[in-house]
């Protein structure tokens, strides 16, 4: 695994995001309260740029008429069809049970795994080292 410096840490302040290019891959870097996350800038549904999407919170409901709004700005909502992805995990919010059950294995894939992976945005480890944002790829 190689490391790539993509930005100075103060270029992406908490709540901000930056689109970088690493070895030809567009990667969207987020800073959520000091934690950095990277998501491939391509929606796994139909390929839209997630960079153009809207940062939203997580709306949940235990029963009709009751709403819980949490994790403000930790979800990216695709600019086209509105698919929501958890920036911390890259996982789609709409079918969490199915997605939790699926391991992301890039080496051995079957047809059914490809379908399940299609609902998970590709994620990259991002760390701050000596005040630089580094992508591990």
């Amino acid at each position: 695994m190689s490391k790539y410096v993509v930005a100075a840490a103060n270029e992406i302040l908490p709540g901000q995001r930056k689109l970088v290019n690493v070895r030809g891959r567009p990667i969207l870097i987020f800073n959520l309260d000091g934690d950095y996350f990277g998501i491939l800038d391509r929606c796994p549904h139909q390929g839209a740029s997630l960079c153009k999407g809207q940062l939203v919170g997580l709306v949940e409901s235990d029963r009709p008429g009751q709403y819980n709004f949490t994790r403000n700005n930790e979800i990216i909502r695709c600019a086209w069809h509105g698919w929501e992805f958890d920036i911390r995990t890259g996982k789609s919010r709409c079918e969490p049970e199915k997605i939790k059950a699926t391991q992301y294995n890039i080496n051995t894939k079957t047809g059914s795994e490809i379908i399940e992976e299609a609902y998970e945005a590709e994620t990259f480890d991002v760390a701050v080292e000596d005040n630089y944002v580094v992508v591990h790829l």
């Binding site: 549904h45 139909q46 390929g47 839209a48 740029s49 153009k52 999407g53 809207q54 600019a79 086209w80 069809h81 509105g82 047809g111 490809i114 379908i115 299609a118």
Partner: protein
């Protein structure tokens, strides 16, 4: 035919197939600048004073909010300003060129149809017909216009069709699905007769302002229910056209159902055939099984594409409808855009793929 799941990475890398996009939505940059030149001073003043009043229970805006603002992709706002779909150069660089669109059918929405003042509706539709040529088709040969008609006033609609009939800027006549009465009823027949005379297909796009709820069971609470309701509403209008005898009376009529889905068509046809077998005497003017009439007269656009699991069921559905009856569409620049390289989630033979993405449209619109 080989059935294979798509390899998404490989799909991205392929050279893009030439396509027809049978549902593109243009919008005026500015109504006073782009539409007023074709509206008389009387109607300009009317619009400034009273505005546009649609046949619906809500005074302003659509009856339901949309999935994204302006129902548009958030990346479709032209860099120079204006609404999505209002800038031809940006449409070229974001959609027509990269997606290799050889034929684009323009379907202007909220552009004069469904307006309660019938005379204003007619004047506005006429202005939008001029505007489509001036701002779009005369500047971009890949684009074809839709002939806008004030369909709740059939005699004014016929006048508009006869005015433009034979003009190659127009590929089809456009109606919206939510009409004041079921679309097969005789009130609307003069429009179908004029369409046959002009040799133009009639396209019916989902949405509109009929005044009735989108469902048969009343006004739903959510936008997501309106999205589902378009299929229900379109099934009702097709049923009306079959049983009223429209296709018997106008044997050369071509009907295109736009943005209402298509997977429901087999099940609807089975039900219509079954009832026709039993109650034929109620409607003796329908001399052939409804499924036969539908196969002969009806085409459907693909967006929003059905996404069944398992995906192979999509093939069964399309094979029943007929590969030659589907017209690819993206709905650009709207939020539920179908990306051409991702929209068809199964691998199909070359012949079917070419028909689906381009040839069916070229043949239907006589553009070969």
């Amino acid at each position: 035919m080989n059935i294979q799941l798509m390899d998404r990475v490989a799909t991205d890398q392929k050279i893009k197939l030439a396509i027809a996009d049978c549902d593109i939505h243009p919008t005026p940059k500015s109504v006073p600048v782009e539409i007023y030149p074709y509206l008389s001073k009387r109607w300009q003043d009317y619009m400034e004073t009273y505005g546009i009043i649609y046949r619906q229970g809500f005074p302003t805006g659509p009856a339901f909010p949309k999935g994204q603002p302006n129902a548009a992709r958030r990346d479709a706002y032209p860099p120079g300003g204006g609404k999505p779909g209002s800038d031809l150069d940006f449409m070229r660089s974001q959609h027509l060129d990269p997606n290799n669109v050889q034929l684009g059918i323009l379907n202007p929405l909220s552009c004069g149809q469904g307006v309660q003042n019938q005379d204003f509706s007619a004047a506005y539709c006429n202005a939008v017909n001029h505007w489509q040529i001036a701002e779009w088709t005369s500047k971009e040969s890949r684009l074809k216009a839709s002939l806008m008609v004030p369909y709740e006033d059939p005699s004014a609609s016929v006048k508009e069709i006869d005015l433009w009939g034979g003009d190659s800027n127009f590929a089809q006549i456009l109606l919206l699905s939510r009409t004041a009465e079921p679309l097969g009823q005789r009130k609307y027949w003069p429009i179908f007769e004029a369409a046959c005379r002009a040799n133009l297909p009639v396209a019916v796009h989902a949405f509109g302002y009929g005044g009735a709820p989108v469902t048969g069971g009343g006004w739903p609470s959510f936008y997501i229910e309106e999205m589902v309701g378009h299929a229900e509403n379109t099934q009702s209008l097709l049923t009306s056209m079959v049983f009223e005898g429209v296709f018997e009376r106008f044997p050369t009529l071509k009907l295109i159902l736009v943005e209402a889905g298509f997977a429901w068509l087999p099940a609807l046809s089975w039900r219509l055939d079954k009832l026709w077998n039993r109650m034929r005497a109620e409607i003796p003017h329908v001399t052939r099984p409804p499924s036969e009439l539908i196969r002969q007269h009806v085409w459907l656009t693909t967006q929003p594409m059905e996404e069944p699991e398992p995906r192979e069921h999509l093939l069964d559905t399309i094979e029943w409808i007929g590969w030659e009856k589907l017209l690819f569409a993206t709905d650009y620049p709207h939020w539920d855009f179908d990306e051409p390289s991702r929209a068809l989630p199964i691998r199909v033979g070359k012949e079917q793929k070419e028909a689906f993405f381009l040839k069916n449209a070229l043949e239907l619109y006589n553009l070969n």
